[in-house]
Every structure is written in structure tokens, then in C-alpha cells.
Symmetry: C2
Subunit: 204 residues, 2 copies
């Protein structure tokens, strides 16, 4: 037996995280346990401890991934270059259709998990307030008064979370077709055709 | 021992429903069971069967109560007399601040329960579509084009459900103070002072 083989992990950290993601989003955090994950991946649990000190460290990696991807991208897209509020909205809407920018399943799973985990709830509250601040600033940047900007930011956040938690099923095409209407509600103005075209060109 | 006393229920149907409501909204539907409820109420479970054939009948009564109160009132308030879209919105907002008209805790509990109960999920989908239709019609009644009315109705529904599922904590006073701003986002117009006054007078 080659000791090199024993020492070298057969699975990457990413494989464990991907398996944990599936279990977390399907069955909730209680189901994310080392032995069942190892069984699912068809390996002994020794491989797990090559990458993570314990279950807590795996869960922490998952939460960090959620913070970086979902909140990180919502904030970054709110701050992205835009010539008008409609263009800024389309920047943000990238997160509504690209799971690589915003993972709705993970957001819902984190919210369910936080109900029974007060320290996660604190991080969730922080994330929600970062999102709210970034979107409020986006509206202020385009001349909306502070109080109005705050309500518009909240309308977008609650709408997104409501949509996710109601598990609405719509095709991406249909969702995109409604976006000029959503922009009208959230901003009070309609996008110009060239602004829509620029957005569509990104998602072809 | 007086047989009359044995036959006469010591608790009303309402007492059982109230206890079941507390358990459902705190701990989810799995926790709603006859024996623990009887224990909680300090009676034998015999009393339960005076009012309900079985657990299923109790759960059905709870779902019917939710349908009548939450969806029933949202639809009724959408159809109530109004002179303008702002007045119609204030009619609807009654449901956002009066738990007697719309019970947010119960709505959230029903949504969590429906995730593991496909027949309840069907009733929830029906309720959501009744709410959407009623609000869409409300906007159409005040001259909004069909497609625009639908998006505005959805914005309101997703916002409400997002707000509930994020378990936002705000005082009623603060929530009321934001309502003219919400009306501006949802309708594109601001309410007049007399419309706000009429609403405030109802909630004094």
C-alpha cells in the first residue's frame, strides 16, 4: 500500500462543499453531517478531516460562501457603473437571473437555518442591512431623496426575498420580459430601449 | 358524579384552536398533536374529541380560518370602495397593521407547513392567485394597464411575504409613517393629506 495515496485526498474541498450544499438546500442544516455526506460521496469520513477540522468548519465555509456570493454581488452590482437609474437597476437584475451572482436556493436555506441559530441570524441581519444600504445609496446616487431611496431599496429586497420564499416558478425568458415593468415600479421611470438592449446582450 | 358534567365540554372549540395556533406558529405543524395540546390545556384528551373527529379535522379548521381571514380580507379590502388608487391602497394596508384582518404569523406558518404537504401547497397556490387577481383588478379599476397592474400586484404580494418571512421588527407607528412612501412606490402617485387622514382616523 502506497502511503502517498492515503495522504492525498481523493476529493477536493469543493466536492465536500458541493455535497453539503445539496443537503443544506434540500433538507436543512440538521441533515448536514459528516457521516451521511461521506456515504453520499462514497468515501470514508477520513477524507473529510483532510479538508475541514470539523462539521463547524464546513458550515462556516458555507456561510462565508453565501456572504461573498449573495451579499457581495448584490452590493457590487449596486455600485457598478451606470448612466441612469434604469441602467443601475439592470446591473442589479443580473443577480436575479444569474445563479452564479446570487444563489436564491442558498439564500432561502440560510434564512431557514438562521431561525434556529442566533449567531447566524446576526450575520443575516448584517447582510440584509448591507444590501439595504447599498441599494439605498444607488437610488440616492441618481437623485432620489433619502427617505424615498430607503423605501425603494426595501421594496426591492422584500420583493426578492418574497419571490424566493414563495418559490415562484418562472422561466428566465418570462422573468426578463417583466423586467422593464419591475424597473418602472421600483424607480418610477421606464428604461430606454438601448438600456434594455445592453442588458439583453449580456444575457444572450 | 354528574354525567352531565362529563358530557359537557370544559373547553370550547376556540380554546383548542387557539392552543393549536400557538403551537403551529411557534413550532410547526409536526408539533400540533392531540396529547401535547391536552397537556398544555390541562385537560384529558377526551375533551378534544368532543369538538373534533381527529387531528386532521383540527388542522383543516386551522387552514380554513387562514383562508377566510388572510386571503378573504386581502380580497375584500382590495374590492372595498375607494375614490382613488391611494385610498384603495390604504384600504389594503389595513391588512398590514391589523392582525384581525391579516395574521402574518399564521401566513408564515402555513407557508412553512405547505413545503411538506402538497395538498396544502395547492390551496396556498390558489390563495396566492386569488390575492394576485384581486390586487391586479384593483389597479385596473383605477386605469392601470393590465400588464402594469399585474406587476404592481406582485410587487405588493412579494413585498408582504418577504417582509413577513424576514420577520422584520417595526413598531406600528413606524410602519404607518412609511405608508405614503410605499404608496408612491406601488402606485406611482402620492396620497393626498385627506386620504392619509382618513386612514389614520381608522387606526387611532
Amino acid at each position: 500500500m502506497d502511503t502517498q495515496d492515503i495522504a492525498r485526498p481523493r476529493l477536493s474541498e469543493e466536492d465536500w462543499l458541493a455535497a453539503a450544499y445539496e443537503v443544506l438546500t434540500d433538507s436543512g442544516v440538521e441533515a448536514v453531517k459528516v457521516m451521511p455526506l461521506a456515504k453520499r460521496l462514497g468515501v470514508s469520513r477520513t477524507s473529510f478531516y483532510w479538508h475541514f477540522k470539523d462539521r463547524e468548519e464546513l458550515l462556516e465555509a458555507m456561510v462565508r460562501r453565501w456572504e461573498e456570493r449573495n451579499t457581495g454581488n448584490l452590493v457590487a452590482r449596486s455600485e457598478a457603473y451606470a448612466e441612469s437609474i434604469a441602467e443601475a437597476m439592470f446591473n442589479l437584475f443580473d443577480c436575479w437571473i444569474d445563479p452564479g451572482l446570487f444563489d436564491a436556493r442558498l439564500d432561502l436555506a440560510i434564512r431557514n437555518w438562521a431561525r434556529n441559530d442566533s449567531s447566524l441570524q446576526e450575520r443575516l441581519d448584517l447582510a440584509d442591512s448591507q444590501r439595504e444600504q447599498a441599494m439605498t445609496k444607488m437610488f440616492i446616487r441618481f437623485g432620489y431623496p433619502q427617505a424615498d431611496a430607503l423605501i425603494r431599496a426595501r421594496a426591492m429586497i422584500y420583493t426578492q426575498i418574497g419571490y424566493i420564499s414563495m418559490q415562484v416558478h418562472e422561466s428566465t425568458e418570462y422573468r426578463i420580459s417583466l423586467m422593464p415593468g419591475w424597473i418602472k415600479v421600483f424607480t418610477g421611470t421606464s428604461p430606454e430601449q438601448r438600456e434594455l438592449d445592453r442588458f439583453l446582450a449580456r444575457h444572450r
